[in-house]
Symmetry: C2
Subunit: 373 residues, 2 copies
């Protein structure tokens, strides 16, 4: 496929990545943004969407969600105009400098960018689903083992061509998402009419290491009802082994059962055709660690003039960078966006120093922002 050409590619759409879009936009620099999550916000959205934040200057109190919404609103002039394009569910997998000095950046879904500058705003790394650590299950991912990034399990299964009807389904997890899947799938167990047959599993089992859940009480109560009336089996325990019809290691074969170590000390072999796991997300630096940026304890060293890395054209802002005095605070990342934007401008507009303009007075900025005075 042909590469998307851009002056600037931002990796990470947390608060700092979003504000980088804004600062580039003020300098008239179009950009693309990729993020591993299916939505904006990064840590703010994943780790503390509803929790309070008191130290954003000029915002006495907000939440992770509130801050992200404001920033998404703030960059609308650029996302609406199409000068900033955001791509969700994209994990950067390859970065290479081309002969012409630009970077060729590929993602795990096959997107390819050719960019003059790369701005890493990846926080603690990409938020990727936590995986089951059981020998043999890794090779089954995408075949019989899934980590769905959606609450709507039926739609997810349809999109991926995952057969649910007639299958023994094991759901592992204790959060809203896992319990929601269990409720949706057991509902189809109870539906009598023929159309539902394609969705009616042979069995639904919910697995968590103990009989206590982090999901909201209302969901837990409905799960208990399904357990009480026998539609849903709950097991407190963990998977210890995957049993496939192929004995060779690393040659997956077909999963037909998992071996469970149960909380009560017993073991059980459970017939399983499909595993759906929701184990939360964890940040992973991923391939950034291999980009040759001389990482310092998983941080990327930058200068404080442009927040540029040792690799000219690659900038790093927010929690992922380090420099003398560095504090991992959102407010510091915002400042880094400003100076990085001017650093990017030097590369994108060589020999044309960019004058600092003020949104209060500049008619050029007013036009860019779509405001009139």
């Amino acid at each position: 496929m042909s590469a998307l050409e851009t002056p600037a590619l931002i990796v990470g759409a947390g608060p700092v990545g979003l504000f980088q879009v804004f600062q580039l936009g003020l300098l008239g620099i179009p950009c693309h943004v990729v993020d591993a999550l299916p939505h904006a916000g990064g840590q703010c959205a994943e780790l503390y969407p509803g929790k309070p934040i008191y130290d954003i200057p000029g915002v006495p109190a907000t939440t992770g969600r509130g801050l992200v919404e404001s920033l998404v609103e703030q960059i609308k002039p650029f996302t609406t105009a199409g000068t900033a394009q955001l791509h969700w569910g994209q994990l950067v997998s390859t970065v290479a400098r081309q002969d012409d000095g630009r970077f060729r950046v590929g993602t795990d879904t096959g997107l390819v960018f050719t960019t003059q500058t790369l701005i890493i705003a990846a926080g603690a790394g990409a938020f990727v689903p936590r995986k089951l650590r059981v020998d043999g299950l890794e090779a089954l991912e995408g075949k019989q083992v899934f980590y769905p990034d959606s609450d709507d399990i039926v739609a997810y299964a349809e999109q991926r061509g995952i057969r649910l009807g007639g299958q023994n389904i094991l759901i592992q997890g204790d959060d809203d998402r896992a319990l929601g899947w269990a409720l949706d799938l057991t509902r189809h167990l109870a539906t009598a009419h023929a159309d539902a047959a394609t969705l009616r599993p042979a069995s639904v089992t919910l697995l968590h290491r103990r009989d206590a859940f982090s999901a909201v009480p209302a969901l837990v109560a409905r799960i208990q009802q399904c357990r009480d009336d026998g539609r849903l089996r709950f097991i407190a325990g963990q998977i210890t082994r995957a049993d496939t019809d192929c004995a060779e290691v690393n040659s997956a074969g077909r999963l037909h059962a998992v071996q469970l170590a149960k909380q009560d000390g017993t073991e059980e072999s459970l017939p399983v055709d499909v595993v759906l796991a929701s184990l939360g997300v964890s940040p992973k630096l991923g391939p950034i660690a291999d980009w040759g940026l001389d990482l310092l304890r998983k941080q990327i060293p930058v200068d404080t003039e442009k927040f540029q890395t040792l690799e000219p054209g690659i900038f790093a802002i927010g929690d992922i960078n380090t420099y003398p005095g560095k504090k991992k605070l959102i407010v510091c990342g915002f400042h880094e966006c400003v100076l990085a934007a001017f650093g990017v401008a030097e590369i994108v507009f060589p020999g044309k120093p960019q004058l600092l303009q003020y949104t209060t007075t500049s008619t050029r900025l007013h036009a860019l922002l779509g405001v009139t005075h």
Copy 2:
């Protein structure tokens, strides 16, 4: 008088100075703040209170006034608790390092501070009233020539013991404030009863270089009415000389008249006892220029680790500092506050490195901010 002792003194209560209060507060460091203006906000309040600002991160649109109000709200936990004390109408006039390493800082009204650290957040300098540049008038300031920082001229005159009754009063200026004074004083001309006699001037004259005003139309219309009915005289022109009863230069004597060069090309000698001028404010670096901080084109060089100047213990943040990459933006000043706060903490809590805590999770910060979760 005895000096006020404090770990930190902030010079300037613009947006950056205000956020410095917040960042020091989070580290448990009490502070005092001085500003030359009678209120918070600095340039935001003086130059663009009603104008829009679009580049505060997470605040898609606000105004100079709106931003300042939010910041004043944000530091309330500290101003309410008294750990941050703000002093208005204070121009720093002297800074000297004591033998014990602390700084002794004096203001033009006689306040004296002894502080471990000094944080200069003075923007383009202190906003001080523009003065009349006429030989002989300077020596009369505070005696017969005044630059009132108040809209209520009667209250101002009472506080300062300025006699208005029976005096020939000359008001120079064209803004809301100057025209408001003129209206208030002419009102007393029209009042018949005896009590008003102490406030009844002999005459009120409004002087501006041309017959056009920057004040709001409603005020201009009321001024025109006073001119029409003969209570107020307006002269388009400028003062060229002060006539006092003492011929010696620099020995003020008593002002009895000013020589005017009028717009129509003629001259006039106008009897005057009191001059009230409102010529706007202009930023002045003032004594900061003499503090030995190696100023670079009126900017103070700082490091980017703590935003400390060449003088240990003196920090500079916001528009007044300079370093490689510096951009004069409020968002950059906010970042500088954070790192300066940790720099101050190293001096205030020697040998006790301060851990970065998050307002989202830290119960210590929640207690400081007076919020409960």
